[in-house]
């Protein structure tokens, strides 16, 4: 039951869907960022699962996972700094209020 790729992939897809729901539904930019982290983790689980069950060499998927982590860290740093900057400028982090570019 455990030792089978589809279990992991379903877990990943579920996590991804939850993250997507968060991205689409939440109004706080920080919450959106949190949801994005969840989606990234889903992708990471995918890589690890493929690595465990399919890949010719077990190092490759791990390296991919590590890179995703690094990118996530970079993304978080940039995203958070942008959020802070937005808050400083607009006094809110509600994404629905960020309407300066409305046509």
């Amino acid at each position: 039951m455990i030792n089978n790729i589809e279990t992991y992939l379903y877990i990943a897809v579920f996590l991804f869907a939850i993250g997507l729901y968060g991205v689409l539904a939440r109004r706080s930019l920080i919450a959106v960022l949190i949801s994005v982290e969840l989606m990234l983790n889903a992708a990471m689980i995918n890589f690890m699962a493929f690595n465990r069950f399919l890949a010719p060499h077990p190092a490759v998927g791990q390296i991919c996972a590590l890179f995703i982590m690094a990118v996530a860290a970079a993304e978080a740093a940039i995203g958070l700094s942008i959020i802070v900057a937005i808050y400083r400028k607009m006094k809110t982090i509600n994404v629905e209020h960020a309407t300066e570019l409305r046509g």
Binding site: R27, I30, I34, R52, F53, H57, L66, A73, A77, R88
Partner: protein
Amino acid sequence: MKFMMDLFSAEGMATLSFLGVVGLTFIGALIAVGARNIFHNVLGLALALFGVAGLFVYLNSPFVAMMEILIYVGAICIAICFAIMLSEPLYLPKPPRKPIKLLGAGLASGLIFAMLGLLMKKTTWVAAPERSTDWSITTLGHFLLTKYALIFEVISLVLLVAMLGAIVTARDGRGET
């Protein structure tokens, strides 16, 4: 009682703890998305990340699991906490949720879920014919510094640039009001 007995066998324990880890992940994820208090969201994220780390242990790579905890829980969650503290105060009243928006989001994510699930179901997963069994961290390190040295360097560069970018973006503008 057979089920209970199975449950307490070694394999049964493994299954049980696996279910526990998965449950931890899902519960954490649901809290991270669903709770109204932003701080609870972060805690839920941390919980989900612990769960994912557990999954990685089941996937034979304790090293990545450790990294997951170190980087995600240890760094990113803390950074998000800082961002929360630097932005909107928590005591402000929150506007009520709009059901239509939640419905739309749920629908869209449900669609994606359905699509990806279907995709997974329809695909037959074929393992590589020859598979190495070398899971050691030493090999990982070797790979990082030989075959994947370029991406390793590039990712370092990305991190550096991200750091600089974050500093530039987040700080007060020079002399601006």
